[in-house]
Structures are given as C-alpha cells and as structure tokens.
C-alpha cells in the first residue's frame, strides 16, 4: 500500500466533503425554493443568495470526479459505468438546474418551466448521490473484470442505500435552509420559513442517521480496518454533537454558527464513510465473481500520484483563495431591495 495512494484516498474524500458541504446547501436551496419563496421578489432573493457561488460549489464534484479518475481509474470506471442510469439522472439534474438558474430571470414567459427545472434538477443529485455512496459502502456485485454485475438502477435500491440517500438529502435540505436563514434579513418572511425548514430537517437528519447506523450494523456489517472503528465512532459522535449544537445555535438566532456547525456535521458524515470504507473503494457484495476494488489494486502508479500531489499543492491553495474572495465579496444578508 503506497503512502501516496493512502493520501489520495483521503484527498478524494476531502473533495467529496467539500462538494457535500458547498453544493449541498445550494442543492437544498433548489429543492426548498418553492417552499421558501412565495412571491416573484422572494424567489429572486432566494436565487440570488446562491447566484454568485453555486457554480464554484459544483466544481468540487468535477474535481472529485477527475481526481478519482486520475488516482483510482478502476474505481472511477466501475462506479460511473455501473451506476450508469443513476449517474445520468444526476447529470441531467445538474445540467437543467445550472441553466435554469441563469435563464429563469431573463425568460419570464417560461418562468414556471425554469423554476421546475431548478427544483427537479436540485432534487435528483441531492438524493441520488447519497444512494450511490450507500451502494459503495454496502457493496455491489462485481464481475471478474471489475464491472458492476447487478441489475441497472433498480439493483441499486435497498433499504440501506435508500436510507443513506435520504440522509444525504436531509442534510442538503438542512444546509439549504440554514444558508437561506443566514443570507436573509431576520424580519423577512423568507427567513421565518427557512428557520422552520431548518428545524424540521435537522430532526429528520438525526433520525435518519440513527436508522442508517442501525441498518449498517444489522444488515451491511462493514468490515472496519484496524483502528478505523474507533475513528468511525468519533466521527459518528461528532456528527450528533454538531447537529445538536447547530439546533441550539439556531434557537439562539445565531445563523452563522448554525450553518457552520451543520457544515461540520456534513464533513463528519463523509469522514465516517471514508473510514468505514478504508482501504476499499468499492466493496464487492458477497457472492461476487470479482474482488473488491481497493486502494491497493486500483491506484495509479506512484509517478502519476506524485505529479497529482504536486498539482494539488499548487491548485488547492489557489482554490481556497478564490473561495475566500467569493464568499467575502458576497458576504452579508441580502434584502429584496438589493435584487430589485
């Protein structure tokens, strides 16, 4: 097991965590859009809250995909071709959502169609990415060449994978509501609705986490690598603590702390996934012809990983600088007058 391969295993989960935290909230905003905003002015306000940042947030997914391709080509090939229809639904969602965000405001006649694209396009990735991750954890039937050997799409649905999908979805919703609460004036109607949604989805996320944990130990029975069970327990406890603290901060009206704690909880969830998988990338379900795809048998050469590490050392600081710029320029609450 090369040290570089281990490094990239965790770096990919760092990218996934970045995506889950950042695009998570704007996917949530997309799904909750019609529930949070009732008038044209309110809808413009909600769209504006993510307008300048959603594109950068989404790039985390592209980077994670590219990094998986580069570092563990076999895992990239198996998951994306094996989950073909699910991935395509995610892609169609992301495509129509991106375009609807830019076009909707300029095309009032098609306003409702663009709004529908925005909501459905946010719903599909928010739900399906979690289902996909659930499958990777639970294990999928693999053929000798490493290909997925199960039933297309429907084969990916089981109680555990659906609960993981629902948990990811609930986290996006909670994050979306927390974001809108953070970005709108406390006195506005939108803010009130966002607070209500945040309360609901926090509780739903906690409940689903408990169900997912029970199902994981009762049905999936993940094989933790030495030491990883402890790490997993720490992340699980940290998740619960962060959500509870986020609820408490939300009650006090501290929207920023509530959002940050919610985001840390999301990171804990991804970290928990990473340690429960390690060193596997795709677990082969019992009875598979092929072996599990692991960071030993799927890693690119050390030469390739070393270059990737160099690229990351230059690129990641730049990315962080861009994000600091973006979130500083567009910091603060926005009011309906600002977008009129």
């Amino acid at each position: 097991m090369s040290a570089l391969a281990v490094l990239w295993f965790f770096l990919i989960f760092v990218l996934i965590a970045g995506y889950f935290v950042l695009d998570g909230f704007d996917l949530g905003v997309g799904v909750l859009y019609r529930a949070l905003a009732k008038t044209d002015a309110e809808r413009a306000l909600v769209r504006r809250s993510i307008g300048p940042v959603w594109d950068g947030n989404e790039v985390w997914l592209l980077t994670a995909g590219g990094a998986l391709f580069a570092a563990f080509p076999a895992a990239y090939a198996t998951t994306f071709s094996g989950f073909y229809l699910a991935v395509m639904l995610v892609l169609f969602g992301l495509i129509v959502r991106a375009v609807s965000l830019e076009f909707g405001a300029h095309d009032p006649k098609w306003g409702r169609a663009w709004d529908a694209c925005f909501t459905i396009g946010s719903f599909l990735p928010a739900l399906l990415l979690g289902v996909a991750l659930g499958n990777v954890i639970a294990g999928v039937p693999l053929a000798a060449n490493g290909d997925y050997a199960g039933v297309p799409l429907l084969g990916l649905l089981s109680p555990f994978t659906l609960v993981v999908g629902a948990l990811g979805f609930a986290m996006c919703m909670a994050a979306g509501a927390a974001w809108v609460a953070l970005k709108t004036e406390r006195t506005s109607a939108v803010h009130g609705r966002a607070e209500k949604q945040r309360r609901v989805w926090h509780v739903v996320a906690l409940a689903l986490f408990v169900v997912a944990t029970v199902l994981a130990f009762a049905v999936v029975k993940p094989q933790f690598a030495p030491g990883m069970l402890v790490a997993g327990a720490i992340f699980a406890i940290a998740f619960v603590v962060c959500i509870a603290a986020s609820i408490a901060q939300a009650k006090k009206g501290n929207d920023l702390a509530a959002f940050v704690l919610q985001s840390i909880a999301a990171v804990c969830l991804v970290a928990l996934t990473a340690v429960s998988l390690f060193p596997n990338l795709v677990v082969a379900a019992p009875g598979s012809v092929g072996e599990s795809i692991t960071l030993m048998n799927a890693a690119s050469s050390d030469t390739s990983l070393a270059w990737m590490t160099g690229i990351a050392c230059i690129g990641v600081p730049l990315v962080l600088v861009y994000h600091v710029i973006a979130y500083r320029v567009f910091s603060g609450r926005i009011a309906e007058e600002d977008v009129a």
Binding site: T63, I95, D107, W307
Partner: protein, 481 residues
C-alpha cells in the same frame, strides 16, 4: 437494426452528440470572453455610460452562453467513466491528471470570477471587476489547454509505456505526456479558431443593428473590435493550420490518408473539393493541383506519402480494416473546413477594410448582411474540424502515432463500458435529445431577448436576478421603441 444494439456505435453517437453540442457554446464563450473583457477594459478607462451599457450587453450574452457550456461540460467530464469504462481503465494513469488539473486550475477560476462578473459590480472596485472579466477568459483558455492536452495525448501518446501485463498504459514522464507532439499546434489552432468565432459574432451583432438602424454608435464599435480581432486571428490561423497539417503528416499517417482520400501511396495533390468513392478507392474531382498537399506539408512538391492500403500492411496500423474506414466523411469534413477558412479570410479582409477610418460599412448593406451570416463560417469550420480530428483517428481511441511508444494504443471498440447495455444507451440518447433541444430553444430565446433589448441599461443593469414581471415590462417597453 444491428446498430440499435451496437454498444460501441451507440456510445460513439452519444459522445459525438454531447461533445458537438458542448462545442457550440464553449467556442462562443471563449471567443466572446475576449470581446467582453475588451469592452470591460474600455469602460474601465472611459467610465462613459455608453461603454458601460455596451459592456453589460456583452456580459449578459457571454454569461448566458457560458452557463450552458458549463452545464453540458459536466456530462463530458463523467462520460469517460459512464460510457468508456475500459478506456478509463487503460488510460487512467495518464489521462485523469489533466482532467483533475483542469477542474482545479481552470474551472474554479472561471466560476468564482464569473460570479463576480454577474453579481459583483456594485460590490467590488471597477478595477477588480475588469480584472475579473479577464480572469474568466483566462480561465476558459486554461481549461481548453488542459482538455486539449488530454485529447492530444489520445492523438499522439507520449511519456508512457504499456504495463508489463499489457492491461494499461503507465506514465513514464508526465511532462512528455503533457507536452506531447501535437499539443502545441492543436491548442493554438483551436484557440485561434474560437477567437475568430467570437470576433465574427461580435461583428454580426453590430451589423444587425446597422441593418436595423439601431444603436449605431455601439454597432460601429463592436464591428470595429470584431474586425481587428478577426483579421489578426485569421492571419495567425495560417501559421497554426500549417503547423497542424505538418503534425498530422508526421505523426498520424492514416488520418492524413483519409483527409486526402489516399488509398495508395502517392504524392498527394491539393483538391479544392471532391468525392471519395470508397468502393473504387478513387477521389472524383474536376480539379487538383499536383503535389499541392505535399507542398503544404513539407514545402516540396514531391514528398510521397503512404496510402491506407500499404499502411494496413504495417504492424502498427494492421488492426485497421481499409474497407470500413470512413474516408469520405473525413475528406469532406477537412475540405469543408478549408473552404470555410477561405470565406473567413475574405470576410475578415472586407470587414477590416470597410470598418476602419471612415467606416464606410455604415452604409454598405450587402456587407452588413454578409457579416450577419458570417459566424456560420467559423462555426461550421470548428465543427467539421473536430470531425476531421476525431473521426480521422478511428478505428483507434488512443492512436498509434509515429513517435508514440510501442503498444500504447487502443481500439475504440475495446474502450466501451461493458456494464452498460444498448437499451440504457438508447434511453439516455433520447433524454439527451429532448433535454438538449429544450435548452437550445431556451438559449435562443434568452439571447434574442438580449439582442432585441440592445446595449441599454434599462433595468438595474446586469443584476440578472431582478423580479421577473416588472423586468419583463420594462424590456417589452424598450423593445417597442
């Protein structure tokens, strides 16, 4: 009917459709990104309200086009895994890194500063805003570089060797792989073509307003800026096109043979147009300059090149079945591209000649009409140019180029996702057709709305999230003027 069950063919069709569609919007946004940045700089220097309105006009068109380019690009990034799993396994050690680098270095840069361009004018200094416009454009050029590094490596592999078990290509020298023999000519060739498209679109919009007798001041400005960028880029094109032709003749003999319809070894003549009869292996044409292509590639009139039949006898190209080669398609694509370049050069010369100094174009309606349709020339050239490059590489997805390392090549038919079935592909193809058609209509609606509205800051400028209903009223009122 067999075609309906041919996973390799369906995968190729899906890739071709999605990439050609993506490549409608990306060239536009890279081309118009430069025009937008130039107008932003103009406004930064003059602080004249008219220049501000002109800048906002281009920012609106640029960002709407950019959005659909970004959205359709997501498909491309993941298509290697979804549809070309065996390809991904074969090349992952080399091909993944440029994709990751593209996201890290280019996509983040573009997306963050695009946000500033769209929503940040009131929140940042004028200088920062202008720099943001240039950074978005720089990001898009950087993105093109990384994806072309990846694509060029498929055309002329380098810095790699076949793994000892023969299952995949393994990197030996990252820099040699990135700076493979075709990257420089191909990158410059593509970028210059995109700048020509942007320049021609800029001129077309200006000429449209001249024809309608509206916004004449803005119209002359855009025509002039387009004409300058257009003529410079069209001249540089000669150099990059020549370099690309030389590269193909040296590194990709079967592609050269298909471009010129050469079945047998010959000194290739220069055809203006023709038809390749694939049965009789003859080029039917009324006119050819003997040795012309030889001259373009080498500077001498008598360089002989190998034809497909003798190439198929070599070990390197032995996997090719000459009867199945899409020679006429490559021949036609290539010659159409060259013909379009003729029209491009002619238009660029006319535009620069009549838009400078006195600006006689203001009264020349025939030239205005020509400019309105002129974006079609670079648009067609770009599309058929890509068909030449990509179909010309068949039947390989990783091409066994002349200087390429032994064994580092892969047939397209061996690159597919075996886990994906034909019905799944048919379903997604149908979905792509519906969704992409819907988006295209939406894009046309939005862009024509912007063009009708013109370079006026009617509503709160570029604050695009303006409430829909009142904004529409203001615009309709303006449109009616």
């Amino acid at each position: 009917m067999d075609a309906l069950f041919d996973v390799a063919l369906l995968s190729r069709i899906q890739f071709a459709v999605t990439v050609a569609y993506h490549f409608i919007f990306v060239p536009l946004s890279i081309g118009l990104g430069l025009i937008t940045a130039i107008f932003a700089t103009k406004y930064y220097r003059s602080r004249d309200e008219k220049d501000g309105a002109a800048m906002h006009f281009w920012v609106r068109i640029f960002t709407a086009t950019f959005a659909i380019g970004v959205a359709t690009g997501i498909t491309m990034e993941f298509s290697f895994g979804t549809n070309w799993a065996d390809y991904s396994r074969f090349v992952g050690d080399i091909f993944g890194a440029p994709l990751a680098a593209e996201a890290l270095f280019a996509f983040f840069l573009e997306s963050v500063f695009l946000g500033v361009l769209l929503f940040g004018e009131k929140r940042v200094s004028p200088k920062f805003y202008t720099v943001s416009a240039w950074l978005v454009w720089a990001g898009s050029c950087l993105s093109a570089l990384w994806i072309l590094i990846a694509n060029s490596w498929m055309q002329t592999p380098a810095g790699a060797e076949l793994a000892s078990d023969g299952s995949k290509a393994v990197i030996t020298d990252f820099l040699a792989a990135a700076f493979n023999p075709s990257i420089l000519p191909r990158y410059t060739h593509v970028i210059v073509a995109l700048l020509i498209l942007g320049a021609f679109v800029s001129m077309a919009v200006g000429a449209w307003y001249l024809l309608k007798g509206k916004h004449s001041d803005f119209a002359m400005k855009t025509v002039r800026i387009g004409a300058v960028v257009g003529i410079v880029a069209s001249c540089v094109m000669i150099v990059t096109a020549h370099a690309s032709a030389v590269e193909v003749s040296e590194e990709q003999p079967t592609k050269l043979a298909m471009m010129e319809g050469m079945y047998n070894d010959e000194v290739p003549p220069l055809y203006a147009f023709g038809w390749v009869d694939e049965e009789s292996q003859q080029v039917i044409t009324p006119f050819a300059i003997p040795g012309g292509t030889s001259f373009l590639a080498t500077g001498t009139w008598d360089a002989e090149y190998a034809g497909l039949n003798s190439l198929a006898e070599t070990e390197k190209y032995g996997e090719m079945n000459v009867a199945d080669m899409p020679v006429n398609l490559v021949f036609q694509s290539y010659h159409l591209m060259v013909a379009m370049y003729g029209l491009i050069m002619l238009t660029a010369i006319l535009a620069i000649a009549f838009s400078m100094r006195g600006g006689r174009i203001a009264t020349m309606r025939w030239l205005q009409k020509l400019l309105v349709v002129s974006p079609l020339f670079p648009f067609i050239a770009i599309q058929v140019g890509w068909i030449t490059a990509e179909v010309g590489r068949q039947p390989w997805v990783v091409y066994p180029s002349t200087s390429g390392p032994d064994g580092v090549s892969l047939l397209t038919n061996n690159a597919i996702s075996q886990a994906v079935s034909a019905p799944e592909l048919l379903l997604t193809l149908a979905l792509f057709a519906v969704v992409y058609a819907f988006l295209f209509i939406g894009w046309v609606r939005v862009i024509s709305h912007f063009i009708k509205r013109g370079p006026v800051d009617a509503v709160a400028a570029v604050e695009s999230a303006a409430p829909a209903a009142p904004a529409a009223k203001t615009c309709d009122a303006k449109d009616g003027e």
